[in-house]
């Protein structure tokens, strides 16, 4: 039995558990419903160019994704280490030849497979419905595909972060609190704080130099900027998103930020799991 076989076993069991716990169903429904609601209720592509519907919805959905995907990702992963300590199964699992690094990586892969499935099905259904109703052009399909792929990357970042946070406490409850805190800080409060600083700064040095870097450093904002910057449309964008077309960095740097976040979170999850005494 190799390390790969052991990791496949752990990942498969995580995947199976997510199905049994109805997590997959819940997440898929959430993604489908929110995407459809945005397409047909929110922006309501009522202009002359109906074929733009997919592109326009991709733009507005990228904003919603920043809230929804991290939440779902943290929901699936916050329990992964602390929960096993609390239930006593971590000691059992670590008494087998499974290494701690293998455990972390395998759980990450299992969770990511589950989240990818939910995003692909949810946004896939919504995309097909929008294209069926309004038609689709190449630009729209490309924007939609980019949205789905980067949403998975964003999800991977937050699954890894959730696992790192799960390696800190010994109780599931504390891990849940940490996950909610992380979501609030990274997804909600971070942007508010930056906007506040920009207003106070009145277009000074901070706004021109530090601000774009700080926006890009946040994984949610990096995801949104990447998607919006690549969408060629005259859809109205406001607030932080105005930066999408005036970013003083190449667009690919947003992807690099996401990959860095992913690598750092996985490393943290591994390091924190290593020091646990089950």
């Amino acid at each position: 039995m190799t390390g790969f076989d052991r990791m496949a076993t752990v990942a498969t069991t995580e995947f199976r558990l997510a199905f049994r716990n109805r997590w997959v169903l819940l997440a898929t429904l959430a993604f489908t419903l929110f995407a459809l609601a945005l397409a047909f209720l929110g922006s309501g592509p009522s202009g002359a160019l109906k074929a733009d519907a997919l592109t326009l919805t991709a733009a507005s959905l990228s904003t919603l994704t920043v809230y929804l995907v991290p939440l779902m990702a943290l929901l699936v992963s916050y329990d992964s280490i602390a929960g096993e300590i609390e239930r006593g199964t971590l000691a059992l699992v670590l008494a087998t030849p499974l290494k701690r690094g293998e455990l972390v990586l395998a759980k990450f892969c299992g969770h990511l497979a589950v989240l990818t499935l939910a995003i692909a099905i949810g946004y896939g259904i919504a995309g097909v419905v929008i294209a069926g109703v309004h038609g689709a052009d190449d630009a729209g399909l490309l924007a939609w595909g980019r949205l789905v792929a980067t949403a998975v990357l964003l999800g991977a970042v937050f699954i890894a972060s959730g696992m790192a946070l799960s390696g800190l406490p010994r109780q599931t409850g504390t891990a849940a609190a940490l996950a909610i805190g992380a979501w609030l800080v990274l997804v909600v409060l971070y942007d508010l704080a930056l906007l506040g600083a920009v207003i106070v700064d009145q277009g000074g040095v901070f706004t021109k130099t530090v601000f774009p870097a700080l926006v890009l450093a946040n994984p949610g904002d990096a995801f949104r900027l990447y998607n919006l910057a690549l969408i060629e449309s005259n859809a109205p964008i406001a607030g932080l998103d105005g930066l999408a077309h005036t970013l003083p960095f190449p667009v690919s740097s947003a992807l690099a930020v996401l990959v860095l976040w992913l690598a750092a979170s996985l490393a943290a999850a591994w390091a924190l799991t290593r020091r646990i005494r089950p």
Partner: protein
């Protein structure tokens, strides 16, 4: 290295900061041997187990699993563990959990699944663990520990909370696997929970090993007194007390204590009282008295 023991612990000390949880403990377990580790909560049993598993690093002393270091690949393959508190995922079935652990241990699930039969929960193999009773979950835990016929089984308080029938069946399974060569080290907090099917007992208190040996040896070495309670015939209690000495209790009875080897002589003296005696009751020291004696707690009438 020609160490016949699957587990050998020498002068092991484990500390958590300023607290010494295990203090200079030496212990060996040979293949096929069943050893019970006894101690109250906080005596150091779980700490010792976790050190054997390689989860905790010793502050001093040596520990070897059949010649290899705890926590190494070879040690992990040799040792199986059942923690005191384990809650398997409720949504999985017993068969799925057994398959999961078989794969982690590199054993084919086909070879592992018959273990559900061995521990007597084959009927529930396809049911979710959430529907299992406590006894069934404990049996599943044991089946998990037996996967791949480990050379050393570490069971942390495996029978606490089991009913007497389940407990006997639990020991039946342990006996079968020890006959096949598996060494068993199990912990308990009370001697009365240990069936008379354990080869050796090691008593741990405050991290130190207080006594070790076969149960019969330990109870003889403890030299605990036998208590004889004599109920006197109507109005004869003074006469009985004057003749035997001892202690008067509740009006009609006298209690005397004697050592095990003096029992027959004491009964002969009693017989001389004839009709003054209405009834006698002999209480031998029980297992928990023996345990309390060694773990340093006071025993009524102990000769110490």
């Amino acid at each position: 290295m020609t160490d016949a023991n699957i587990l050998s612990v020498e002068e092991l000390t484990v500390r958590f900061g300023a607290v010494t949880a295990v203090d200079g403990v030496s212990l060996t377990v040979a293949p096929g041997e069943r050893v019970a580790l006894l101690g109250h909560n906080g005596a150091g049993k779980s700490t010792l187990f976790k050190t054997v598993l390689g989860f905790l690093k010793p502050a001093a002393g040596r520990l070897s699993i059949g010649g290899v270091i705890p926590g190494s690949d070879a040690a992990r393959r040799a040792v199986s563990y059942l923690p005191e508190q384990v809650a398997f995922p409720k949504a999985l079935t017993g068969a799925e959990i057994l398959t999961h652990f078989a794969r982690l241990k590199g054993v084919s699930p086909k070879a592992a699944l018959p273990l559900l039969e061995v521990v007597g929960i084959a009927d529930a193999a396809r049911r979710a663990v959430g529907t299992y009773s406590k006894g069934m979950r404990q049996r599943l835990g044991l089946a998990q520990a037996l996967i791949g016929a480990p050379r050393l089984l570490l069971l942390d308080e495996p029978t606490s909370g089991l009913d007497p029938v389940s407990r006997r069946e639990f020991y039946d399974v342990l006996e079968a696997s020890s006959r096949a060569g598996t060494a068993v080290l199990l912990s308990s907090h009370s001697l009365s929970e240990i069936e008379n099917r354990i080869d050796r007992i090691a008593i741990l208190a405050k991290g130190k090993l207080r006594a070790e040996g076969a149960l019969s040896d330990l109870s003889r070495r403890a030299g605990l007194p036998i208590r004889i309670r004599i109920e006197a015939a109507e109005g004869r209690v003074e006469a009985v007390h004057a003749y035997l000495g001892g202690e008067r209790v509740n009006g009609r009875s006298v209690v005397v204590t004697c050592r095990a080897e003096d029992k027959v002589a004491a009964l002969a003296r009693l017989a001389e009282l004839g009709s003054d005696v209405a009834d006698i009751d002999i209480a031998l020291p029980d297992l928990d008295d023996v345990y309390r004696h060694y773990s340093g707690l006071t025993v009524e009438g102990a000769t110490q």
